[in-house]
């Protein structure tokens, strides 16, 4: 097991090197100039050139790449061109809202989707099944931002139960955090609910037709126990895989949700940096996101061994 984890960890190194190379050259080959953004609309070409020189953007790309890699190897993600703050400081400021939103979304999605999928499979081809599958189609089809605006309109503007926007940090109390994260988590969770519910249903249907389930029923085991102890556990591997894929998809979903609900997280930091061509932030964040993705995949792979002991061998 340890050797397996070590092998997987070592395999991440070339992945991260390729990501670093790709990110740097893609950004520098993409049109756009932070100096022009800094200078503003009324600046003259000479002023823009002056700023470019000061930022070192007039140096050859290979030289800039060398500096970037050297700093990266020393754990320095760089300094934001605009705010003049270290990228790591900005990431630390934004990490909590994004993590809380991601965890809340997953909790909401899993808590609703798995029971929905299990019930849909149990009551296959009934009205309940069709309602659940109808909801799944809707969850996929309706964009996150639209769900967000609808939730804001109903729960924040009409009913005034929850805030329109903003994030209350955990340090100010869990209730404030939950209130601020409730609508975004539901908006973002809709698509994942749909995805996980469908996979749970499909996987459960396959397992429910197995002989050992029929045997369990024949032995008089309670339906609840058959569904949760026998069927769900054996249907778990594809569900866990989808949750893992969902975590990766969450990164892109978070960008939109954070913008709509004004959550000061990593998603918004990424979009703002791209629009302003704040290269150090974009590079730093993509490296971090890639690292997170690799780690999640690793954790998912390890989790398989708990659900299916055969994988350990």
């Amino acid at each position: 097991m340890t050797a397996y984890i070590l092998r997987r960890l070592i395999a991440t190194i070339p992945v991260m090197i390729v990501v670093a190379l790709f990110v740097f050259f893609l950004l520098h080959l993409t049109p756009g100039d932070p100096a022009a953004v800094i200078a503003g609309d009324d600046a003259s070409p000479a002023e823009i050139e002056g700023i470019r020189r000061k930022l070192g953007l007039d140096r050859p790309v290979w030289e800039q790449f060398g500096v970037y890699i050297w700093n990266l190897l020393h754990g320095d993600l760089g300094t934001s061109i605009f705010s003049n703050l270290p990228v790591m400081t900005l990431v630390k400021q934004r990490l909590e809202p994004s993590l809380v939103l991601a965890v809340a979304t997953l909790v909401v999605a899993v808590a609703f989707a798995i029971p929905m999928g299990v019930v849909a499979a149990w009551k296959a081809d009934t009205t309940i099944d069709r309602v659940v599958m109808g909801f799944s189609v809707l969850g996929f089809a309706v964009p996150v931002f639209l769900v967000g605006y609808l939730l804001i309109y109903v729960f924040a503007i009409q009913l005034r139960w929850l805030p329109v926007q903003g994030y209350r940090p955990l340090s100010e109390g869990i209730v404030g955090t939950l209130r601020s994260i409730a609508l975004p988590a539901f908006a973002l969770g809709m698509a994942y609910m749909a995805l996980i519910a469908r996979i749970t249903r499909a996987s459960m249907l396959e397992v429910l037709s197995e002989d050992y389930i029929r045997t369990a029923h024949a032995k008089g085991v309670a339906t609840r126990s058959v569904l949760l102890r026998h069927a769900l556990k054996n249907a778990a591997v594809p569900i866990v895989t989808v949750i893992g894929i969902g975590l990766a998809l969450l990164i892109s979903g978070v960008v939109i949700t954070e913008t709509v609900f004004n959550i000061p997280g990593l998603g918004r930091l990424t979009v703002d940096a791209i629009l302003k061509r704040d290269y150090p932030i974009i590079q730093g964040l993509i490296i971090l996101f890639a690292g997170a993705k690799v780690l999640v995949n690793l954790l998912i792979d390890i989790s398989y061994t708990f659900f299916d002991p055969r994988i350990r061998q």
Binding site: G32, D41, I157, W161
Partner: protein, 529 residues
């Protein structure tokens, strides 16, 4: 056990959710959303307007513009001008203190002006006519000009972008192409660095030791009396969410609501929209004077027969109350307003005449490269209108290149021919305030290599601009503005396609005392009910 704990947690959460107040508002905290996020703390380092708004909170100015855009003293107490209009002597008023407790002296003023004029267009102009700027003693400084340049006071009172703020000498000595590290001003608010989250929130607290002028507040001038304890700039990048936050009372003030949402805001009880006569944006259809066909004046003049000003207004600002059909290069509703020379542009559109002029210019159906920013609130629809108008002409071959605004900003600096990464046309905008002076209106300048993107070149126009700057009074400037306008319509540096106002929206049931200004809204004088 776990199940019981979960049930208890669920019940407790439900009770807490129901019992918690909807909006936890702190007393005397003004929550505002500006048009952009404060991302840069040095107002000289970038010309972005948001940096000016931040600067206005923290730093003070020697002069300020009042509600009528007339310059008024702010940090300056008294001043004298020599008979030859070349020597200005200024005395600072009493009680000026930086946020660290140190006194403001003329050393700080002199160093600040020297840093500012290296980064601002109007400042550079002023520097060109400056013989010397020296501190006579701690309270008096003398500004000596080489020639009787008439815009010294106006330039010091300028608002919009690159406002000449006064910093501490130690910050003012920093290379203007590098950002300052400490934000210590002598303005009415103290910047809270520990609470700054770029891209999310910027916080200011009332500077208790600030001594405001005795005069009532007017525009940016007069007494800067702070009536709240704290101001929070909350950055809401999504216009729909910003509008909803104002409606729900989560913010008190929204600087730049999207035009689509104005009817909703107007009909919401407790929300007021406010505009200033000189507030607004002017559209600019920028032509590249370096490459065919627009390196030939005939082709530029031909565009006046094709572009219909009113079409843009209806697309960008559908509300008639916000529209001004303006044919003045220097904006409408301001002192320099003039439509002299605009007869062709104002007249009926004439494709045949346009085609004839393009032919005279040697146009043979070469592709015209248009940089189309598709992600910008008003630039995208303006581009769509222009493309339609040009396609309707039938004889122009267009090469429309869709991109984000960030790419346009970079690409427009390229002087190469369009086929090698250059361009022929891009659309942008400028504030009416900036364009109201031929000196600050950089897009209208025709100083060849030193001109704005598009690089128009006309010595006669530049001579007139200089004469405007040296004119002794407003009447003389107005006369020269007429000549400038005629020359601009003859040379067509760019085509101005619309003027529309962008009102601010605020909760009049929660705040009062909002000052009416055309740009860079001040946060003093506002009282939270």
């Amino acid at each position: 056990m776990l199940r019981t704990a979960f049930r208890v947690w669920l019940a407790a959460s439900a009770v807490a959710f129901a019992a918690a107040p909807v909006v936890a508002q702190q007393p005397k905290v003004l929550k505002v959303t500006m048009h952009a996020d404060v991302r840069t703390l040095d107002p000289f380092w970038t010309t972005q307007t948001i940096a000016g708004i931040h600067g206005l909170m923290v730093f003070d100015t020697l002069f300020s513009s009042d509600a009528d855009l007339k310059p008024q003293p702010q940090m300056v107490d008294t001043w004298t001008v020599s008979d030859d209009r070349k020597v200005y002597s200024f005395t600072l008023r009493d009680g000026l203190t930086f946020h660290d407790g140190s006194k403001v002296t003329t050393k700080d003023v002199v160093a600040s002006m020297k840093r500012w004029w290296q980064r601002d267009g109007a400042g550079k102009q002023l520097f060109n006519y400056t013989e010397s700027l020296v501190a006579k003693d701690d309270k008096t400084f003398v500004w000596t000009l080489k020639e009787p340049y008439g815009l010294l006071i106006d330039t010091l009172a300028k608002t919009g972008t690159s406002i000449p703020f006064v910093m501490r000498e130690q910050e003012a000595m920093v290379d203007p192409f590098q950002q300052i590290k400490d934000v210590v001003g002598s303005g009415p608010f103290v910047f809270k660095r520990d609470e700054w989250v770029p891209g999310s929130k910027t916080v200011y607290e009332k500077f208790k030791a600030y001594v405001p002028r005795k005069e009532p507040a007017s525009g940016h001038a007069g007494g800067k009396v702070v009536k709240v304890d704290r101001v929070e700039f909350i950055w809401l990048s999504d216009p729909q969410t910003a509008q909803a936050a104002l409606v729900a009372g989560e913010i008190d003030y929204l600087e730049n609501p999207q035009p689509d949402f104005l009817p909703i805001l107007e009909s919401t009880p407790g929300i007021k929209l406010d505009t200033h006569p000189a507030m607004g944006t002017m559209g600019i259809l920028q032509l590249n004077h370096l490459h065919p066909p627009f390196n030939n004046v005939k082709a530029r003049q031909a565009m006046l027969y094709l572009i219909n000003n009113a079409d843009y207004l209806n697309t960008i600002a559908a509300d008639k109350k916000l529209q001004t059909l303006c044919f003045s290069f220097f904006g409408c509703g301001v002192e320099m307003e003039t439509d002299a020379g605009s007869e062709i542009y104002k007249g009926p559109k004439d494709i045949k005449k346009a085609e004839a002029l393009f032919k005279e210019a040697g146009y043979n159906g070469e592709p015209i490269t248009i940089l189309h920013a598709t992600d910008h609130q008003y630039i995208n629809p303006a581009n769509l209108v222009m493309i339609q108008q040009l396609r309707k002409a039938g004889f122009l071959k267009l090469d429309v290149q869709a991109m984000d605004w960030g790419t346009v900003v970079s690409r427009r600096t390229k002087k190469e021919p369009p086929a090698q990464g250059g361009w022929n046309i891009f659309i942008t905008g400028t504030s009416v305030l900036t364009s109201s002076s031929p000196i600050t209106h950089t897009s209208v300048g025709m100083a060849c290599d030193k001109a704005w993107f598009g690089w128009p070149c006309d010595a006669k126009f530049e001579e007139l601009r200089k004469a405007w700057a040296f004119a002794p009074d407003i009447e003389a400037r107005k006369k020269i503005a007429v000549e400038l306008s005629k020359r601009a319509y003859d040379q067509v540096p760019y085509i101005s396609f619309a003027q529309w106002r962008n009102p601010v929206a605020y909760r009049s049931d929660k705040i009062s005392g909002v000052l009416s200004v055309p740009s860079v809204p001040p946060m003093w004088n506002i009282e939270k009910k």
